[in-house]
């Protein structure tokens, strides 16, 4: 081995890091080389002196100082808001689009009057006003609705008809009746016997041809 190769191992020799074989090989060279021997002597004298060098202590809050420095450098508020709204864009933008569409649909539905209608009477009136074929029912007034209903039912049966449906509408009662066409005129004339009756000339039938009567409490 030449001096350059030996020089690379002097520190390891002085700090006892060489294998026995490596150490013997270096020592063989040193026996015949005064330059390398002198370098080894300097290294051996210098190593104990190295313990006299040490940096001063760091302040105990050094890590906190670094963290503060990092926080100060972090993103401004508008970038944070942007990231919260749009990052990652491939998830948040479709979700936000769906949410916006849903809000828009709810708004349109509300404006069209399909939402928040809990009163069935109101709904009935709305339909009546808007629908072209909607019935303008015959309205009958009576102090006793149950009595009027029973009498009306009996009269329908007398004219060979039937009560298709009865439905409370607020405090009133809606009766949908099926009467054969040939019995319709005598039935309408007989209605006058039951009480005060308003019969519009047309549109008192629904789309199925049933007569619609509203019994109102007088």
């Amino acid at each position: 081995m030449d001096c350059h190769e030996i020089e690379m191992q002097l520190y390891d020799l002085a700090t006892d890091r060489l294998t026995d074989e490596e150490r013997r090989s270096v020592e063989r060279h040193l026996d015949a080389c005064t330059v390398c021997t002198e370098k080894l002597a300097i290294i051996r004298e210098t190593l104990p002196l190295l313990e006299h060098w040490s940096p001063p202590e760091l302040p105990p809050d050094f890590a906190d100082q670094v963290i503060r420095g990092i926080k100060l450098r972090q993103d401004p508020w508008w970038r944070k808001v942007g990231q919260a709204l749009f990052s990652p864009w491939y998830i948040k933008i479709p979700l936000e689009g769906l949410a916006a569409t849903a809000v828009l649909l709810v708004f349109i539905a509300y404006q069209s009057g399909y939402l928040f209608i809990t009163d069935t009477t109101t709904r009935e009136i709305t339909v009546t006003v808007k629908g072209e074929d909607a019935p303008q029912p015959i309205v009958m007034e009576s102090p006793d609705l149950e009595d009027a209903r029973l009498k009306l039912t009996a009269m329908v049966k007398e004219h060979g008809g039937m009560v298709v449906r009865r439905q409370p509408v607020g405090s009133d009662l809606k009766m949908v009746l099926k009467i054969a066409q040939e019995n319709e005129t005598p039935f309408l004339q007989a209605l006058g016997r039951l009480g005060k009756t308003t019969a519009p000339p047309e549109h008192y039938k629904d789309s199925q041809g049933n007569i619609v009567i509203i019994l109102k409490k007088k």
Partner: protein, 204 residues
């Protein structure tokens, strides 16, 4: 008995797990990470700059820069030391003059008071104080000599001594940090210590 290799491996795994948390932006993990590496980073900066204030600033900047680059780091320890070293090189190249650290402390005074409180024979007390003072003086003298000698070394020699001798890094790790071949690491270390020895001899 746990071997040195097992301990080193455990330590490496622990550091890797900690770094993963740092990578995810966990600032508590970063605090622990800094605690683990602050001494090494500061030691290198102090050796290169010779001024504790500038060394502290460089170490702080190194950690901040490291945190910014955490997503593209594969070997956190060597990368961090490389950043610190490069920042110190920049500082040196900017022509900043280094300031000698005083290294003084008040240990001596406290020692004397404690001795006076705990001993009863005045002659013994005086002899002990005399010995302590001589040892302290010799230690301080050598410390100043070493500090001066270290400052006279080139930055390449300073860093190789710190990384291998003081921090106990392997030649391979040093090669990774300094980005030089393994053979260069070995020859540079030996030359650095011989040079330091010669400076110390000239000084005394």
């Amino acid at each position: 008995m746990v071997s040195r290799n097992d301990k080193a491996s455990e330590n490496t795994e622990e550091k890797a797990a900690l770094f993963e948390k740092v990578r995810s932006g966990d600032l508590d993990a970063l605090r622990l990470f800094i605690k683990k590496f602050e001494r090494e980073v500061f030691e290198l900066c102090y050796a290169l700059l010779g001024d504790p204030v500038k060394a502290r600033q460089a170490a702080q900047d190194a950690f901040i820069k490291f945190y910014d680059a955490r997503h593209r780091v594969h070997h956190p320890g060597p990368y961090l030391l490389r950043i610190a070293r490069n920042l110190c090189y920049d500082e040196i190249e900017n022509g900043t003059k280094t300031v000698e650290a005083s290294g003084k402390n008040d240990k001596k005074g406290i020692g004397i008071i404690d001795t006076l409180k705990n001993n009863h024979n005045p002659l013994e007390i005086l002899l002990e104080i005399q010995q302590d003072v001589e040892e302290e003086e010799l230690w301080e003298k050598r410390k100043i000599q070493m500090s001066k000698a270290m400052k006279k070394l080139s930055k390449e020699y300073k860093e190789i001594i710190v990384i291998i001798h003081y921090q106990g890094k392997s030649y391979k790790e040093a090669a990774r940090i300094l980005q030089i071949p393994l053979g260069t690491v070995k020859s540079r270390l030996n030359r650095a210590i011989v040079k330091l020895g010669k400076i110390l001899m000239e000084g005394s």
